[in-house]
């Protein structure tokens, strides 16, 4: 049993699109990543990069076309029936939209207890279940009074806490957080991020934290992976990736995000054009249509992995990585 909780190797997933004939929408094109116990992996990328598809596949809402997934040594996609049901307890999700992810006609208590209706063996009696729900409500900072209230009576941040409590109901090992704070107000974002932090310290859960907000990811993630058009184009320890980006896209993302501290910043990198359609990804390196360093080789050959000389876990796929032989090449 390896020390990694989750190992994904070369996962691919395409969707057929109604009006595109034979062409398929390539959502995931060879994803490889690892997640250790108790660790937070940040997943960063813009719309269309495939991070939602990745989340859904890891939750087994979609089946990958090829590639392998190993969760604690087991391949979850080979499980059936009762084993599959038992496995589902180990990976749960916190959704982005606190308004759409809760059924408005169920009380908070019902929502949190819903997972147990499919796993009847866990808490047998009504009283046991209620006690556990109240325990979870306390754990996420909502208090027992929230038990009988409907989602409309809560604010966005409180609803997100209900979502987190629901995700915790089955005692999972991994929680996938899909933009959990994007829809929340700033003051509430901080509260929820602190909560997620505390829960990880207390319960030892691993997180896969998907977000487009780089400052948030920097705050919560141990390691980060940057996605573009279905591939992970850079990954490594958070500090290394953010402070010394190796891939031009990562550098452009860092540069584009507005910064609060207004220190003297280098000239902002403005990328040309827009993200190409996943139906028709560019040949060779996918980023070449917008990259200011692109040359002929980028169109013909898939880019190799370029490892950061100063941090071994930090790698990017690029023909012309920004970090060359230990020096930060000029952008």
């Amino acid at each position: 049993m390896s020390e990694n909780l989750l190992e994904v190797r070369d996962m691919r997933k395409s969707f057929s699109v109604p009006n595109a004939g034979k062409k398929k929408l390539c959502a995931l094109d060879g994803i490889t990543l690892d997640l250790a116990r108790g660790e937070t992996l940040g997943l960063v990328g813009e719309s269309g990069c495939g991070k939602s598809t990745l989340a859904r596949t890891l939750l087994m809402l979609e089946r990958p076309d090829s590639g392998s997934v190993r969760f604690d040594g087991i391949d979850p996609f080979s499980l059936r029936g009762k084993e599959l049901l038992a496995f589902r307890r180990r990976v749960q999700m916190v959704f982005q939209d606190p308004y759409a992810s809760l059924n408005a006609r169920m009380t908070a208590g019902d929502i949190i207890a819903e997972p147990w209706r499919s796993h009847k063996g866990l808490y047998k009696g009504r009283r046991d279940r209620d006690t556990r729900v109240r325990g979870l409500l306390d754990l996420v900072g909502l208090g027992a009074k929230a038990f009988d209230k409907y989602p409309q009576e809560f604010s966005g941040g409180q609803r997100q806490r209900i979502g987190i409590a629901r995700a915790l109901a089955l005692d999972p090992d991994v929680i996938i957080c899909d933009e959990p704070v994007s829809a929340l107000d700033l003051s509430v974002q901080a509260q929820v991020l602190n909560l997620l932090n505390d829960l990880q310290d207390q319960l030892g859960i691993s997180y896969i934290f998907i977000s487009h907000d780089l400052s948030v990811v920097r705050h919560v993630a141990d390691r980060v992976a940057v996605m573009y058009l279905g591939r992970i184009i850079e990954s490594g320890p958070t500090g290394a990736v953010f402070d010394r980006p190796n891939h031009p896209y990562t550098a452009a993302l860092m540069s584009a995000a507005p910064k609060l501290d207004g220190e003297q910043r280098p000239e902002r990198i403005l990328l040309k054009g827009e993200v190409p359609s996943p139906l028709n990804p560019p040949s060779g390196c996918r980023f070449r249509t917008r990259c200011w360093k692109a040359t002929e080789v980028c169109a013909t050959t898939a880019p190799p992995s370029a490892v950061d000389p100063e941090a071994s876990g930090h790698a990017a796929e690029c023909h012309h990585p920004l970090l060359q032989k230990g020096t930060l090449a000029s952008v």
């Binding site: 499919s118 909502l142 009576e153 505390d198």
Partner: protein, 325 residues
Amino acid sequence: MSTQLDLVPVKPTTAIVGEPETRKRSKWFRLLVNDRVAAAAAVVLGLVFLTGIIGPMVVGNLATHIDLDNSNQAPFTLAHGWANILGTDPLGRSMLARLIVACRTTLSVAVPAVMISAIVGSAIGMWAGYYRGWRETVAMRVADVIMSFPSLLLAVVVLYVFSPSAANIVLVLAITRIPVYLRTARAESAELQSRLFVDAARTFGASAQAIIWRHVVPVVLPTLLTVATLDFCYVMLAESSLSFLGIGIQPPDVSWGLMVSQGRTYLHTAWWLSFFPGLAIVITTVSATILAAWARIATDPGQRWRLTVPQKRLSRFTKTTKALA
């Protein structure tokens, strides 16, 4: 724990949406009362149902009491007794009494027909919408087949072949109305599949039936109720048409449609024979339609604000001059 919050639950901060869910019944009542036309329609409909339930007991056998001396008397005069205030029919029976008894018959055909078609149609629709794929295709084609028959013609054929009893009428009307519910329920169910809380339920391994029962049914129900209210009108009119054609309710039973039919030959001499039952049909269907329109707005949280604004303001968009004056 450092992230403990106050226990006070808070309404969402956008001011438009902010009604306390705890007082559910009074909320619906207030929404209804605010729309005066819908409230009136609800009262009328309530009276109709009340008449149908207890009316025949009150009226007794006045409806069947034949009095040939009093045949075809004009309405709006008390000269022949209070019971004949709406006139009498060729056999001297009180129009008022017959109307009341006919109310029960008409409702006892329309209501079961609507309920059967609603339950069967929505169940199949929700099931088809959940699974999609071939189940959806088959269900939709079956609905298409039923819809492509002119329903009244189908009813005529069926009732001609089998005898026109009340049960058969209910059955035929129910079957021809199934597609309406099937298509509505399928569409809503299919749309719900992409909702996040359904995905969440799938992630903890909920089975198809569990998801349909827990999540799809409560969301689809308001739409179905609105459709059912409108459908009620249609079924009433269909039953009236069938009785008018002579293959619906058979005498000595009486329904509004049958009364209209029987009064046809006397239109020039005794207009009230067809007029009052016709009026009863119109009043009931119009009330039901108005209530359905109200229900459509009231059950949609996004549109509900229209019922909180006094009617005349809806037509004007900038009222700043008036407010500041």
